[in-house]
């Protein structure tokens, strides 16, 4: 069976499995070791579809790519463990396991024994799932860096604009119902991404439509929901408020935000341990939901002592022995997304210095690796463009408060511009080989912004200032605590302070 036939069959199979809502069954079947090529294809297509929504720090499970995308290079055979003759393994061992920067060519040899007898390699190299996964990524990145070695990297702004405009100008295909309970997020991501690339690109027409759409997502009492006729949800409410801030008070829309109602609702979500949970009846209570409460309350000017009681202690307890922060205060694993939420939350409370900032700085710095140049979200996990913001913003916050430098911004910028976009497909992505989606397009651009400016803070977190680091920045400066363009945030905060 040739690949094309296999692919068609796989699509057919996928269609059936999707219909039966049994993707994981197909996935497991394929992983169980079936050698049938079509099953492997099917499982890879499933992965293509699902990966966009599941693998990284998901503010929502965002299935953001249209249609199914199939890349034949996913069919690359996974590297065999301990294959000393495999060039990729050699490169990997050389650069990663040994942490040296010796040119790879020195290790390329016809004779496998030569390699195995190299004392530096023979020692202690251990191949596991973690190293095999990373090896694949290292190879993809190295390929791109090599091909683009002489290219001055630029952002393909117009292509990305068309990708974003598409979502704002067309009805969304049925498979986007995966985002049905996260509709304000799509607005926030697309509007923020457009606005960062060019303030003019978020048109008044779109702003008006955003206001109408968000009104449909609101309860009469004020808080916002994931969509029409749904219940209020703390993280959807955050996305909705940020999206409204991006609307520039068009037609006086900011007056329609019922901040008293939102404030009363936030109080009902407060838990005895100091955190906030996402819903009044059920829902997780962690550093993410707690940040969403603090950010909204701060932007609306209702960050009262009553609301803040115990919150600082809750967030401080989420810091782990590694220096980053986890989801819950029970020694969860330090994670880029939760670290952002906790650090930004502490900054909003004016309590950033109460955590172990030296260890936090250290942890942020350790997220950047020499070969990929981008940032990972946890120790021994893969690089992902979205952590350019989650971790990059924490680095920017620490920088703004004079607490030290942690990442190499120009190298991260290179990862973003060379590995997170391609000429073939508009939109930004997690890493080479992944499909672009709206979540990554927004957070990679916000991360890019954090690499093109330096930040300082004078009095309060809403007033972070920026200075250019590159002559012609690709994007506008973002406030790394609130996730909005600096000028947009300032206007929204001023408006609410005067209300």
């Amino acid at each position: 069976m040739n690949t094309a036939t296999a692919f068609l069959e796989a699509c057919n199979e996928l269609y059936i499995t999707l219909k039966e809502n049994a993707i994981p069954t197909a996935w497991r079947g394929a992983r169980a070791g079936s050698s049938c090529e079509s099953a492997v294809c099917a499982c890879l297509v499933c992965v293509c579809v699902l990966s966009a929504c599941t693998h990284c720090f998901p503010f929502t499970r965002a299935l953001c790519s249209f249609g199914l995308v199939f890349r034949t290079n996913h069919l690359k055979k996974p590297p065999a463990p301990m294959a000393g003759s495999d060039l990729r393994t050699v490169r990997f061992i050389n650069t990663q396991l040994l942490g040296r920067r010796r040119p790879t060519v020195e290790l390329v040899s016809e004779d496998e024994h030569d390699l195995q007898e190299d004392p530096a390699i023979a020692m202690n190299s251990l191949s596991t799932e973690t190293t095999a996964d990373r090896e694949e990524v290292l190879f993809d990145c190295a390929e791109l860096y090599e091909a683009l070695a002489d290219v001055e990297p630029t952002l393909f702004k117009h292509a990305h604009r068309s990708y974003l405009d598409y979502a704002l100008g067309h009805p969304l295909p049925p498979q986007m119902k995966a985002l049905d309970a996260s509709q304000p997020w799509l607005l926030y991501w697309t509007a923020c991404a457009l606005r960062l690339m060019d303030p003019q690109w978020l048109t008044q027409d779109v702003q008006r439509k955003m206001v109408h759409k968000l009104a449909l997502c609101a309860l009469d009492s004020g808080p916002y929901c994931g969509g029409f006729g749904q219940q209020a949800h703390l993280v959807c409410n955050y996305a909705a408020i940020n999206a409204l801030a991006l609307c520039d008070n068009i037609d006086g829309c900011w007056a329609s935000i019922k901040r008293e109602g939102i404030y009363e609702w936030l109080l009902t979500l407060k838990m005895p341990g100091g955190g906030f949970r996402t819903g009044a009846l059920l829902g997780e209570c962690d550093s993410r939901s707690t940040y969403c409460a603090l950010s909204v309350a701060s932007m609306l000017g209702v960050l009262t002592p009553e609301l803040c009681e115990g919150v600082e202690a809750f967030l401080l307890r989420c810091q782990t022995y590694e220096g980053g922060f986890g989801a819950c205060p029970h020694e969860d694993e330090a994670h880029g997304g939760y670290t952002f939420c906790a650090a930004a939350g502490l900054a909003i409370l004016g309590s950033l210095r109460k955590c172990d900032t030296a260890k936090l700085l250290d942890w942020c710095s350790a997220r950047q690796t020499n070969e990929e140049k981008g940032l990972s979200g946890r120790s021994n996990k893969l690089v992902d463009g979205c952590y350019s913001y989650w971790v990059g913003a924490v680095a920017a916050i620490l920088e703004a408060y004079g607490l030290g430098e942690s990442i190499d911004k120009s190298q991260l910028r290179e990862y973003i511009l060379k590995c997170c976009q391609s000429k073939e497909r508009p939109g930004l992505r997690d890493k080479p080989g992944k499909s672009p989606d709206y979540y990554h397009t927004a957070y990679v651009l916000m991360g890019l912004s954090a690499t093109e400016y330096s930040f300082s803070v004078r009095d309060c977190p809403q007033r972070i200032q920026s200075a250019r680091l590159v002559e012609q920045p690709d994007v506008e400066p973002v406030n790394p605590i609130f996730g909005l363009p600096i000028d947009v945030l300032a206007r929204f905060v001023d408006y609410n302070a005067a209300r």
């Binding site: 599941t54 309970a181 799509l186 439509k209 109408h212 694993e333 021994n380 990442i407």
Partner: protein, 315 residues
């Protein structure tokens, strides 16, 4: 769901699931099945009907969009109303949830729902949770939500019996699994309120060193080693552990180390040493040398950070 009982919804008028505005932004083109399933579930929710057919409607809705939190909330209300604290019925609900969880490993809503069910349950059992946790971690050894839920269970049931062994088995499978290393720290910090007894700590240090010898260039095991010292030993590195770390960086502190730097087995060992040296003014020179070597040879992408650390030495 072919074996599910047939429920009648003929008396229910499905509610609209969208605002129906002309030209609405980002309007999803719902298919007919979705409109019907969601419309019926919404109509039942609006009536606050707590019945077996309503429960079934929520499972259909959740199957279509697992992240639809409103339906999880409604489902919990139904379960509470129908089953109260009936353990057998709640076990049936957990069975349904197990099946759903296996098919939706990255979903956010599952876990807080699960916690709510266990809190409601008159006689919850950790034993009942272990197989699903094992299976989920087997499938995705770094699944953040599953590890976090496991820790919640351990604290909820107050049962640390299996935990170190569980983490060890995952580390044996993949020594780079940071989630498993974190789990060890969770056990050490929570099992005994005053911290682990001396012999347990000694055993843990021994274990960690063994794992480092197996794979010296591993941030997880070195972070953990540092964590043990920071959390339980006042952050004071003793001569034995310094000797251990030095064994992975031979020659690096020799007076005549060449410009290109010798080969070392672990940049994390060098970091460990640099941190320890930076704590004492008498060893600032060694700290500076270590940071400089990291910046020049072993971890140059972090050069801004290393430069910051060197500046802090003189400050």
């Amino acid at each position: 769901m072919s074996d599910a009982p047939e429920f009648q919804y003929d008396d229910i008028e499905p509610l609209p699931i969208s605002g129906g505005q002309e030209g609405e932004l980002c309007q999803i083109m719902y298919d007919g099945e979705y409109r019907t399933v969601m419309g019926i579930a919404r109509a039942l929710l609006q009536k606050l009907e707590f019945s077996e057919r309503a429960l079934h409607a929520t499972s259909q809705a959740i199957d279509l969009v697992p992240a639809f939190y409103t339906m999880w909330n409604y489902r919990f209300q139904i379960v509470k109303a129908l089953y109260g604290t009936d353990g057998a019925e709640l076990n049936r609900e957990l069975d349904w949830l197990d099946e759903f969880t296996l098919n939706n490993p990255k979903n956010y809503q599952i876990w807080s729902y699960r916690q709510a069910l266990l809190r409601l349950h008159p006689s919850p059992e950790f034993q009942r949770e272990l197989p699903i946790l094992q299976s989920m971690i087997d499938d995705d050894t770094k699944n953040y939500h599953v590890w976090s839920y496991r820790r919640w269970c351990v604290l909820f049931f107050g049962d640390f019996t299996n935990e170190l062994q569980f983490a060890s088995s995952l580390i044996a499978r993949d020594v780079y699994n940071n989630s498993a290393w974190c789990h060890r720290m969770f056990v050490l910090k929570n099992q005994v309120p005053k911290g682990p007894p001396a012999e347990a700590l000694t055993g843990e240090l021994h274990y960690t060193k063994k794992q480092i010898e197996l794979a010296p260039q591993n941030i997880s095991s070195w972070n953990y080693l540092r964590g043990l010292y920071d959390e339980f030993l006042d952050g004071k590195a003793d001569p034995a552990i310094m000797e251990f770390a030095l064994s992975f960086t031979p020659g690096i502190f020799a007076a005549d180390a060449s410009d290109t730097g010798p080969q070392i087995q672990s940049s994390y060992a060098l970091e460990f040493l640099a941190r320890a040296y930076a704590k004492n003014e008498d060893t600032f020179a060694q700290a500076r040398k270590a940071y400089q070597a990291l910046s020049d040879h072993f971890d140059p992408i972090r050069k801004n950070f290393w430069a910051y650390k060197i500046r802090s030495l003189t400050a």
